[in-house]
Structures are given as structure tokens and as C-alpha cells.
Amino acid sequence: MRWLRPIGQDKLAALSLFLISTTLFAGLFAPFLAPHAPDEVHMELRFAAPSWEYWLGNDQLGRCVLSRLLYGIRPSVLWVGVALALSAGIGTIVGFVAGYFRGATDAVLMRICDGMLSFPGYVLTLAVIGILGVGLENILIAFALMKWAWFARVIRTSVRQYADSDYVRFAKTLGFGDVRIMARHLVPAALPDMAVAASSTFGSMILQISGFSFLGLGIQAPHAEWGMMLNEARTVMFSKPELMLAPGIAIILVVSAVNYLSDSLQLALDPRLATSRRAPHSRTVAESAKLQGSEVA
């Protein structure tokens, strides 16, 4: 694990990694860690300030905010992560095949992607929910179905560029198989691009999940989800703005941690960036901004 060493040296990356793993851990063991049941209503404690019993206070129904935050990790982070892994996985395979083999394979796969991408994302998700029914799992299925084409395009572009290099030609000359060439040469080269694409999608998926929950199409009411907590707090935005803090900060922290981690993964993988550890950061941020922009569009 050569690449873990530079991440250890990079303080921000180490912090991000710590934050993400703690979040995942807390989400998995929420029932043991949460001080209260997430949907336990105490009307007498409505909007109560943080106390020793309720560390982050109580919401409009007197439920424990901390417990809801911990339970909310499951849909907001864990399940989004699964949907992301699924769509990134499909997209990566399609992107590699299209970018490496080119020709007719590339043309056919890319036309399919174009077809997928020509549907507006939200509308397609609504259509999938219309067919499969309301629920978090159906939104996640819709996400996976929708986003893989975007991943495939991004990854195909980067693979195509690396597949054209002389080190790949040399490996072909020696007589190595295609799978081996992809695994040894192209996966490491394309990994930073994949990480940047995945991390920027992660943020937008969390926000979209909460949007659908707000419409009543995702997580159903008593269950906790970060986006839904934000939406519930929105109704009392002017009288009790502090209720937005817990879910808002949680979303910001996790999304930025994922973004920082993907940036430092690039720094760790590419020895050309190792000699000048300061400068490349601005480039990767610009790159992720570019990717983010193209995805939102």
C-alpha cells in the first residue's frame, strides 16, 4: 500500500480519512451508539436546547437530534455510497471497454450513453419511482441506472488518452493480454479521474436524495435522513435556525472530506505531483469543479 504513506503525511487527508471512517462506523453501529430512539417523540421537549441528556438538543417533535443524525448516516452516506459504487462500477467497466477497444464497440457504447444522458436526470428518476414505487431503494436504483452513463463518459475519455500511449503499445508488443494491460497500466492511470468523478457525484447524490425525501418520494417520514432533517428545520428557519446546523454541518463535513480524500489520492498516486506538493492542489480542485459543472448541466 504505497499510496497510504503519503496520505499519512498529508494532515488534511488523514483527517478526512478519519472522519469518513468514523462516519461509516457510526452509521453501521447507530443502534448501539445513539443515546435515544430516533423517532421517540417528547412533545414537552420541543426545540429544547442541548442538554446533558440530549447533546444536540431536540427537534420540532422533541426527538433527539444526535440520534437522528446517527441513524441518518445509513441512508445519507451508506446507501448513497452503495448506489455510487454500483453506478461507478458499471460506468468504469463500460468506460474501460469503450476507451480501450475503440472502433465499433466504442461507438455503440457511447451512443447508448448519449441516449441515457439525453434524459434529464430528475425526470428519469421520477419515472423510475413511478414504475417501481416510492422508497429509498428505488431512488438508489434510479441513481445507479442514470449515473453510470456519465461515469462511463468521463472514464472512457481518460482511458482513451492513456490507451494511446507508448507504454501500452510496449505492453501489447510484449504480448500481454488486454485484461492485464488494463489492470496494470490503465487502472492506476485512470484512478485519480475516477476518484474525482466519484467524489463530486457523491455530494450531488446526497443532496438529491434529500430533495426526493422532501417530495415524499424517498425516505418516509418518521425515519431519519440528513436531507429530510434539513427540510424539517427549514420550516422554523427564522425562529430556530440552529436546528439546521447539525444536519447541514454533517453534510458539508462528509462531502468535503470525500473531496479532499480524492484529491490527495491523486497526489499520492502520481509521483510527478509528489515533488511539488503545494501547487497541484489548485489544479485538482479546478478539475473537480469542471467535472461537477458538467454533471450538473
Binding site: G103, Y167, G175, P271
Partner: protein
């Protein structure tokens, strides 16, 4: 032995469904005998690199055949380890994430999948191309052009191939380094008893290294002559090409 028969190659210009094609190579036939050093000379854009890719079997000709010992070149097993190459662009010839050691290991893993890092073998390869073992842990961006080209040559030699295709292997180096690398190639040729196919636009470099040169113009073979009879070429194009160098 390499046999090339009536090879044609064209590339599509424009999209997948475009009709127009650009003819890059037509009617190429020649033979390369084991141990020989054959030069392929031509202007920029005459199709030398394309011919090189066909010879290596990483692309297929539209028509005609390229055969190594009677078997098609694009059959991976036919050429496995017996053919190697040094490419034109040394900046992209070594994976940017690999150290020199890892790059040199690659051809060695061809024979046995889990080859342990054989330090002495890598040191010897580096020594043969005039580099010391301190280069083992360097990344390609830390090498100069000449050093990178030497690493590529060491990597090409590692499988002890019968034939190495050198595509403009010395063209981007300056004069003195060029001579060093050419001398290196000469000494390796005797050390390993192998042959070269030396693609270049530099007649002098070809004359220095090769036994026979093939002059290519617009994807056709203009003329093939032995190096020691280079002065009595027949075709007007070859004459003109030589005159420019002699002048």
C-alpha cells in the same frame, strides 16, 4: 524471420460512418532475416510508424500479411517475448507511475508470472545501457530524454528478443548522445545476437547502424539497398534524399 506480403493500410478520416479513407501504406512487401539490421527511411508522414505498428502486430493490415516465422504477427503467442520495441515518444514510453525498476520488471514477468525482483538482473540491464543502480528508484519524469531512451532500450533488451523495432529511437537526442546510443545498440547486437528494424528519417544514423536500408515514400517502398552500396541508388527520389545529406 519476418515476412511482409503486399500490406495495405488505410485510416478512416472523420467519424465512424465516414466513407473517406486515407491510404497510408500500399503494396509493402519485404523480408527481414534473423540477425539483420534493416533501416526504414522516409520523410515525416510517409507511414513509417504505421508500418512499425503492423510489424509488431499491435494493429492489423487491411490486406496482405505480416508473419513472424510463418505465423501471423497479431497472434499474441507467436511473438511473445521474441519481438520488442523502442518507441518514438520516450516521454510516454514508461508509465509515469512506475519506477525504472518496475518498468524493467515488466518484460521479466512475461516468462514467469510472479518473478521475484531479481536485483542483479536489473542492475546488469542498467549497466549495459550505461546507467548505474541509483536509477532504479527514479520515476520517468526525473530522467533526461537520453536516460529515458536508455531505460527503454534496457527494457526492450530484457526479454532477449530476436528482433527489436526502434522507431526514431535516437532522433530526439542530440548529436553526441545519439552516437553513444547507436554504439550501445551495436554492442548489444553482438552481445545478444539479435537484429534490429531501425525506423528513422536520419540517413546518417541508418547508415551507421544498418546493413540494409529501405526507402519509403508516401506509403510505398521506393527502393531497398545495402548500406555499402548506398551511393549507387537507382530511383530519383532516393538520389535526391542522399544528395541532401551529402551536400
Amino acid at each position: 524471420m519476418l515476412t511482409v506480403e503486399r500490406v495495405e493500410k488505410s485510416y478512416r478520416t472523420g467519424g465512424l460512418f465516414a466513407r473517406r479513407r486515407k491510404q497510408v501504406l500500399s503494396g509493402i512487401s519485404f523480408e527481414w532475416k534473423a540477425g539483420e539490421c534493416l533501416g526504414i527511411i522516409g520523410e515525416s508522414g510517409s507511414g513509417k510508424s504505421t508500418l512499425g505498428r503492423l510489424l509488431l502486430g499491435i494493429e492489423r493490415p487491411d490486406r496482405g500479411s505480416v508473419r513472424w516465422e510463418g505465423r501471423p504477427a497479431d497472434e499474441r503467442r507467436a511473438r511473445r517475448g521474441s519481438v520488442s520495441a523502442v518507441f518514438q515518444d520516450y516521454t510516454s514510453s514508461i508509465h509515469p507511475f512506475f519506477t525504472v525498476e518496475k518498468a524493467l520488471m515488466e518484460p521479466l514477468t512475461l516468462r514467469n508470472k510472479r518473478a521475484a525482483i531479481d536485483s542483479r538482473r536489473i542492475d546488469r540491464l542498467l549497466e549495459q545501457v550505461g546507467l548505474d543502480s541509483s536509477y532504479r528508484n527514479k520515476y520517468p519524469h526525473e530522467l533526461s530524454g537520453g536516460e529515458a531512451q536508455r531505460v527503454c532500450i534496457a527494457r526492450a533488451v530484457a526479454t532477449e528478443p530476436r528482433c527489436i523495432l526502434l522507431d526514431e529511437a535516437v532522433s530526439s537526442l542530440d548529436g553526441s548522445v545519439q552516437v553513444q546510443v547507436l554504439d550501445l545498440l551495436r554492442s548489444l547486437k553482438t552481445a545478444y545476437d539479435m537484429g534490429y528494424i531501425f525506423i528513422t528519417h536520419d540517413i546518417q544514423a541508418a547508415a551507421y547502424l544498418c546493413d540494409r536500408v529501405m526507402i519509403v515514400r508516401d506509403g510505398r517502398i521506393e527502393e531497398t539497398v545495402d548500406v555499402d552500396r548506398l551511393r549507387d541508388v537507382q530511383s530519383p527520389y532516393a538520389k535526391k534524399l542522399l544528395d541532401m545529406v551529402m551536400a
